[in-house]
Amino acid sequence: MKRHLISAADLTRDDALLVLDTAEELAQVADRSIKKLPTLRGRTVVNLFFEDSTRTRISFEAAAKRLSADVINFSAKGSSVSKGESLKDTALTLEAMGADGVVIRHNASGAPHRLAGWVRGSVVNAGDGTHEHPTQALLDAFTMRRRLGDLSGRKVTIVGDVLHSRVARSNVLLLATLGAEVTVVAPPTLLPVAMGDWPCEVSYDLDAVLPKSDAIMMLRVQQERMNAAYFPTVREYSRRYGLDAPRMAQLPEHAIVMHPGPMNRGVEIAAEVADSPRSTIVEQVANGVSVRMAVLYLLLGGSESAIGTPGAGE
């Protein structure tokens, strides 16, 4: 694997499978009474969050702590960043503190690329602007694999604001790497004008795609899109691109419903869909910790096995 995880495109098929398999092993730890491994003892992981995202930060924090890493949480609010410190100076500060890994969430696309040029430690992208969110894609793939088995040839539909979605970008790239067939569905205003090199199909018609989907992933509609002429009204968006119970009934029997959260219930997803047995939304959150443990272990860990000597597990 590369030293950093900035884009889902950084992962080869073998890398991605290694992360998923490692996460599967590490998931066993969550079932133990003592949920802690000594693997990253003495290593320092900094959670550098320039954007509010409690769920992602907590997920990374839990992952690092379960691997016994020292965790430093650095959020932009109330820090020197809010006093005008540049990303570069923040990076140099972290460097001076000897961070082995930096998990960065930032509202500017490409901020992790810049950071990787300024620090020696591994950089993990926890979401950058409207670019990528590779660990979300990994946890989504992990969730799908648990429910559906091998992803080769599986049909995954991603619905919503593809233009501004870092989740969509990372998922399209990773799922293509894993051999899934991806279709993105959105109103034309919420798709990039040039998607020629994206490894996916594009559709404007959700109803046409539903019957051949093994998994459907609903993206959050951001508040700011609602007032910027991307679609006429929230109600019209919901009617054309929202997943309600009648639409869910058009999915094949085995198909699952996913959402990266946080949800707008009643907009892109109806409450009864979100709470249905097909929904993996809560599982996705739980799987997030295992996948992030795997990423941190593989980027920062030594040559030791993730959970001790193979076969010597409890």
Partner: protein, 427 residues
């Protein structure tokens, strides 16, 4: 001081000598000598009329940390320029006779090249009310080029009035063509790369729509329009069409738009962030063809100095712009001459003759012939170098060409018979 330039190839022609005396080209021919004259060996060098830049940001007054008239004109001389047009988006804005005269006076005092201030079209470049264009035209700075560069004069009525008004003193409105609503928060060319990188797209149509409108306005009122930094294939087509109608439309292209494309944004290094943005390889090819066939009249640097901290940031936070005075001629050689698209006479036309004509400069951009002011650039096209901004005269270092190998070297520059650069060094 008299100077004899020995063995220079005027516009790439046969080797000959030039005698510069009393600020003029006094003689041209083989075997020239003059008692007491300084002799400059120009064997193998190309002689061009001193270059003229229509689009330079000297940053003074207001941002002297990035550039001053002194440092910017030193950079210009090193780049082979004998005249630059200083853009109006300073602090305060050059929208009064007082500010343009200050910039003009600072240029005279520095003495490295002529400085012709550009006047703002609107007060404070806010696009709402015309600046006192006549006062700037009548000032000691004799302003003829007016631009809100950095901002588009987007209001069609204000643009129409500006075009009409400057006819009274043979002025020209140089438009920064950028439809503001289509480019809110825009970060890079809208296309395959912006989709992949998740950076807000800057569509070509935002430039082309304004150019089309302004060509029609200029035709309607019978005035002169100059289009700044054309960056798209569609813009070239529109300007070609406007010229075919006989309308008084001229245009410039920057060196960076002739050489670089939007794939440079791949690593999110904002050294490549610029307004207008780098476009696609197809646009680059169309710009080169447009410059070669004369649709685009000239190369203008849009030299835009920024301090280091303005570029060592996230892409979205970074300032837009690149410096270009000291690399313009090598980039043009690389993009236009070495590709066979333009000969040295063409380079002289696009980098000296036509920009001087657009700016209505009388003593610049004239042929290297007896009786012309002795504005001369000597250029060695045979060497190659790796770009290292450490040696630049500009105060800023935001060049996109760091480490890139480019051809050529400005050996000497003469401003009205006075040496400003010799052996590549400022005198």
């Amino acid at each position: 001081m008299n100077i004899v330039i020995k063995g220079a190839r005027i516009l790439g022609g046969d080797a000959t000598d030039l005698l510069l005396r009393d600020g003029m080209v006094a003689e041209v021919g083989a075997g020239l000598s003059a008692p007491g004259a300084e002799v400059v060996d120009a064997a193998g060098l190309i002689a061009l009329p001193g270059l003229v830049d229509l689009h330079t940001h000297l940053r003074e007054p207001g941002r002297e940390d990035a550039e001053t008239v002194e440092s910017g004109t030193r950079a210009a001389a090193r780049g082979g320029y004998t005249a630059v047009h200083a853009m109006a988006n300073t602090e305060p804005v050059a929208d009064t006779a007082g500010v343009v005269e200050q910039v003009w006076r600072l240029g005279r005092e520095a003495g490295h090249c002529d400085v012709h201030p550009v006047g703002a079209v609107t007060r404070g470049i806010e696009g709402r009310q015309l600046a006192e264009l006549g006062a700037m035209a009548d000032s000691a700075a004799r302003v003829r080029v007016f631009s809100d560069d950095g901002h588009c004069v987007s209001d069609a009525v204000i643009m129409r009035r500006a075009l009409e008004y400057v006819k009274a003193f043979d002025g020209v409105v140089a438009q920064h063509a950028q439809e503001p609503r289509l480019t809110e928060g825009a970060q890079m060319n809208e296309g395959v790369m912006s989709a992949r990188l998740g950076l807000r797209g800057w569509p070509a149509v935002a430039e082309e729509a304004i150019i089309a409108r302004d060509c029609l306005l200029a035709a309607h009122v019978g005035s002169r329009l100059h289009v700044c930094h054309v960056s798209t294939a569609g813009s070239v087509e529109i300007i070609r069409w406007a010229k075919s109608k006989g309308w008084q439309v001229t245009a410039e292209v920057t060196p960076h738009h002739l050489l670089l494309d939007d794939r440079r944004a791949e690593g999110y290094d904002p050294i490549y962030k610029v307004n207008p943005p780098l476009r696609t390889a197809e646009d680059v090819a169309a710009l080169r063809a447009g410059l070669a066939d004369g649709t685009i009249d000239c190369v203008a640097t849009d030299h835009a100095p920024h301090p280091v901290e303005a570029k060592e940031t996230e892409w979205a936070q970074a300032a837009m712009g690149m410096i270009g005075l000291e690399t313009a001629l090598p980039v043009v050689q690389e993009a236009m001459v070495d590709t066979g698209l333009l000969d040295w006479a063409g380079v002289a036309d696009r980098m000296a003759v036509r920009p001087a004509r657009i700016g209505r400069l009388t003593g610049q951009g004239l042929p290297l012939a007896v009786g012309s002011p002795a504005n001369v650039t000597l250029y060695d096209p045979s060497v190659r170098f790796s770009v290292d901004p450490a040696g630049f005269a500009s105060k800023s270092r935001n060049t996109p060409y760091v480490g890139l190998e480019l051809p050529g070297r400005v050996v000497a520059t003469f401003l009205r018979g006075r040496t400003t650069v010799l052996d590549g060094k400022l005198v």
